[in-house]
């Protein structure tokens, strides 16, 4: 997130404090590392680096909060692995020897959308000053936010609605579209190594959303965000026409607009897909 989408980071840092959530940076965090990528290469390394990030939060006396589904999946799966298999905790403690990293696993990891959801729709509604009436949103939950459902906090195991509800609180409408819960196609190292397959999966979702007539996509994951932005640029290049022009917003950017923040401050001026048509529609 900080290395590819500082604009999304800016929106998170603006919006969350206004909702009463105080953020503290973890000094010296590393890559989470990615649950489908680094974990696929060497699981013990993935577990050790994820544990180190969790340990930094634990030592600071806080739970960890992330705005990315990939990081979220990594932290949730790491915690369940070390809680269910105490020998794995010992294993990572062994890797930390002499480095001054204390890790007991008594720490929790949350996605920021979980924290926002816990505030409750009524209280968030009070913060809305500029309702986004008439805006049609294609919601993308992403995979690791929801699955494996056994290790996730959501009420339902499928056909979730919490993100749709959070979007509708801004005054916008969450639009039904085909295969809403389909993967974005980026994860598991597929985007990194098999770009044609990866972009084709994104295209399927983009086409479905376009057919439903959305004004923008809203996501809660930096990798899905990259996938939808960059895939549209690539598809346009391949087609030789600007067919794919759906602005891609992170949730706190949408919520920030409804809370009256300036679009530039929310980082909406540095997107790969121009957000101006959406902003014009909001202002009209």
């Amino acid at each position: 997130m900080p290395n590819r989408f500082p604009n999304v980071e800016a929106s998170i840092r603006l919006v969350l404090p206004k909702l009463g959530i105080e953020l503290e940076d973890i000094d010296g965090a590393s890559c989470c590392p990615a649950p489908g990528v680094i974990r696929s290469f060497d699981e013990p390394t993935w577990l050790a680096l994820a544990s180190r990030n969790l340990a930094l939060a634990e030592m600071a006396g806080h739970d960890i909060i992330t705005g990315c589904n990939g990081c979220y999946g990594t932290f949730k799966e790491t915690l369940s692995e070390i809680h269910e298999h105490p020998e794995r905790l010992k294993e990572v403690q062994g890797y930390f020897k002499g480095l001054g990293i204390k890790f007991t696993g008594k720490v929790d990891a949350k996605h920021l959308i979980e924290v926002i959801n816990d505030i409750g729709l009524e209280d968030i509604k009070k913060k809305i000053t500029k309702p986004l009436n008439g805006i049609r949103v294609g919601v993308h939950y992403g995979c690791h936010l929801l699955k494996p459902s056994k290790n996730r906090p959501w009420k339902q195991t499928q056909r979730h609605t919490f993100l749709d509800d959070l979007i509708e609180i801004t005054g916008a409408s969450s639009i039904k579209y085909k295969d809403k819960f389909l993967c974005c196609g980026a994860g598991g190292g597929v985007r990194g190594s098999q770009i044609a397959v990866s972009v084709d999966i994104a295209k399927e979702k983009l086409d479905n959303m376009m057919e439903a007539g959305v004004d923008c996509i809203v996501d809660v994951c930096s990798f899905c965000h990259l996938q939808f932005e960059a895939s549209q640029v690539q598809l346009n290049k391949e087609l030789g026409e600007q067919k794919y022009q759906i602005p891609v917003l992170y949730f706190t950017q949408l919520l920030g607009l409804a809370m009256g923040f300036d679009p530039t401050d929310l980082g909406l001026g540095v997107h790969m897909i121009n957000t101006q048509p959406l902003l014009d529609k909001i202002l009209s």
Binding site: N3, S30, C31, K147, Q158, G188, V197
Partner: protein, 181 residues
């Protein structure tokens, strides 16, 4: 009787009886209960557009066709969306099984060049996707700290992260193949 249909024969030499045990022991504990129903393949977003068939991969693992599974590029078509794991009627952790087999593949030297590159960046910077000049400039414009408060701006943290990756063997694991260097 003549038989004009060409049949693929699985040679005994191709079967490694230990392979399945290793995958199961590493965490894919219900793998043997697979009934080859094909639910995994039918929900797979990669399978919709490629010849990748999760069911086939699992069947090959069950048969112990280690080399065929580990050397197959198909192993890397899974986007880890976890849909097959959610839907499997035998509650097999399909995605976990694939990740376990990917770990084995890397250990055997089967690693895609792009994946090696991302891993090398992780080893060098603590990030598989490190900061670049363009994003440093955007950070500055948005009033954020130019280098994020991660291993990018904390030397001790980067040193620790590198040391951990040395200890887990990752630094050695992702080095270019010895023949090439």
């Amino acid at each position: 009787m003549t038989d004009s249909i060409s049949r693929e024969t699985i040679e005994s030499d191709d079967i490694d009886p230990d392979f399945l045990n290793k995958v199961v022991d590493a965490g894919a504990d219900r793998l043997r209960t697979c009934i080859q129903c094909g639910t995994c393949s039918s929900v797979c977003p990669s399978g919709r557009r490629t010849a990748f068939r999760t069911r086939e991969l699992i069947r090959k693992a069950l048969l112990g066709l280690k080399d065929e599974v580990l050397s197959s590029p198909d192993l890397w078509l899974c986007a880890t969306c976890l849909t097959c794991l959610e839907r499997c009627p035998r509650q097999i952790k399909v995605t976990d099984a694939i990740i376990i087999m990917r770990n084995m593949a890397v250990e055997e030297g089967f690693m895609l060049p792009q994946h090696r590159k991302a891993s090398q960046k992780l080893v060098e910077t603590g990030h598989a996707v490190p900061i670049d000049d363009a994003n440093r400039a955007i950070r500055k414009d948005l009033g954020l700290q130019e280098n994020p408060p991660t291993t990018h701006s904390n030397e001790k943290a980067l040193k620790d992260v590198k040391e951990i990756m040395k200890r887990t063997g990752f630094t050695e694991l992702i080095k270019e193949e010895k023949e090439e260097s």
